[in-house]
């Protein structure tokens, strides 16, 4: 089965992020494919590399980067939502005259069309949010 997942909330604020992560891990363990993980609304905040959570708690951003690296996952942060919330990659920084970027490893910024494509190309689309 080919799954895509939408994550609509930021790290730590809502359990949606954790539920999405656990679902994806279970799907991968069961041998399924993850076509794309799309981050929208405050979900784009999963894509900043600048978080410093307490050491005795899960590092949500790093967890995504590691999972993406291990399983070659496509983590896409919506450009419009990212611009509103200040999640920036080097291209966006240059384009919008920002003095730095903050995108975490394994994430890429792209348009809402990637969400629609995920719906079209996947067998199942799940949404985790508030």
């Amino acid at each position: 089965m080919k799954f895509s997942v939408v994550v609509n909330e930021g790290p730590y604020t809502h359990q949606a992020v954790d539920s999405a992560y656990q679902f994806i891990r279970a799907a991968l363990e069961a041998g399924h494919e993850i076509f794309r993980i799309f981050f929208y609304h405050d979900g784009v905040n999963n894509g900043t590399r600048l978080t410093t959570p307490p050491q005795d708690d899960r590092h949500i951003v790093n967890r995504w980067s590691e999972l993406a690296s291990e399983h070659d996952l496509d983590l896409v942060v919506c450009v419009a939502a990212a611009q509103r919330r200040g999640i920036v990659d080097p291209d966006e920084a240059k384009r919008n005259s920002k003095d730095s970027d903050n995108i975490a490893p394994g994430f890429r910024i792209s348009g809402l069309g990637q969400l629609i494509e995920a719906g079209i190309e996947s067998d199942r689309l799940l949404v985790f949010g508030d």
Binding site: Q15, S19, F23, R25, A26, H32, R124, L126, D130
Partner: protein, 100 residues
């Protein structure tokens, strides 16, 4: 169709909306704070007790455990599943509606 509900019925109308729109034969999975809807003896118990005749209701085990809710506190007829069961439900149903 698989419906998921992630809100407590004490906080939000999501469970009520889900049950009112879910067709007979659907699967309803309670996740995150939605597992509070599975509690027996609450003011919202009747909603799911009545629905159990039409739909299958599941509660996500890790979310129950995280909240200190043991299975003997749940409405009889609700099945507890893990994340692997969540994935199986997503595979078994052609379509998914995630009530937020």
């Amino acid at each position: 169709m698989l419906h998921t509900v992630n809100k407590s019925p004490f906080e939000s109308s999501s469970l009520k909306t889900c049950i009112s729109l879910a067709r007979g034969g659907s699967d309803v999975l309670l996740i995150e704070d939605g597992v509070y809807g599975a509690l027996n003896g609450s003011t919202h118990t009747a909603l799911l007790t009545e629905a159990l005749g039409q739909v299958r209701v599941y509660a996500l085990g890790p979310d129950l455990k995280a909240r200190g809710l043991s299975e003997d506190k749940l409405i009889p007829g609700i099945e507890v599943v893990g994340y692997d069961g969540f994935v199986e439900l997503a595979c078994a149903n052609d379509k998914i509606q995630n009530w937020l």
